[in-house]
Symmetry: C2
Subunit: 101 residues, 2 copies
DNA sequence: TAGACATTTAGACAACTTTCTAATCATAGT
DNA sequence: ACTATGATTAGAAAGTTGTCTAAATGTCTA
């Protein structure tokens, strides 16, 4: 599966987008994230797995907790792909031959 | 369903991304698009429906053919959403209070 | 080492996706 | 009006997703 597929699949769910939004200002534990939703912690855990798979977040165990944080670099991959469809288009003429999907 | 969900869902498939890529340089008929794939025209038609639903493409009948073209403005919605996760962040301080998802 | 807390994993289920074949709709040309 | 061509729609099969409950794992503290 192409990486962009994982990324866009991960972004294609409102719950997961809300999780990312929560992590935007500061890192949070799984429990803190779950506290913002009505679905079960197990379901949130599943969503976190999908976000990890897409490499949009990373996790680190900190004692009893698992702390999640954004991996901002991956958002740029999606951004770059989208850019080719805007009026800006493929800007750099030296940027060579189909790095595109 | 939030519009971003439609957009990212539509982008989360390699076939559909390839269709968008084909349309990047010029408008194409359903048949011309289908010629680039091994799956059936019926399946391509289905993918085109999903792209239309997300408003990423528009269609127009031209005699016997149906011509598809990109709707570049929608790509920007996705782009703007992604931008808030890059180092650039929410740039404008006067851009107010949660237009976010 | 036992108990409590935080989180994940396993297994089940309904809903949705992707693909196909076959049938239908729309237009053009004879 | 008939037929050929371009494209979509309908319905079915196989796979994937999002959610749940219940069980398991990992870590801290007594």
């Amino acid at each position: 599966m192409p990486p962009l597929t994982y990324i866009f699949k991960a972004l294609a769910d409102p719950t997961r987008r809300k999780i990312l939004h929560l992590l935007r200002t500061k890192d949070l534990t799984a429990g803190q994230i779950a506290a913002n939703f009505t679905i079960t912690p197990a379901s949130i855990s599943h969503h976190l797995t999908i976000l990890k798979q897409a490499d949009l977040v990373v996790d680190e165990r900190r004692g009893q907790n698992i702390v999640y944080s954004l991996n901002t670099t991956v958002f740029q991959d999606a951004l770059v792909w989208l850019l080719q469809f805007t009026d800006a288009g493929d800007k750099a003429p030296h940027e060579e031959e189909n790095a595109h999907d």
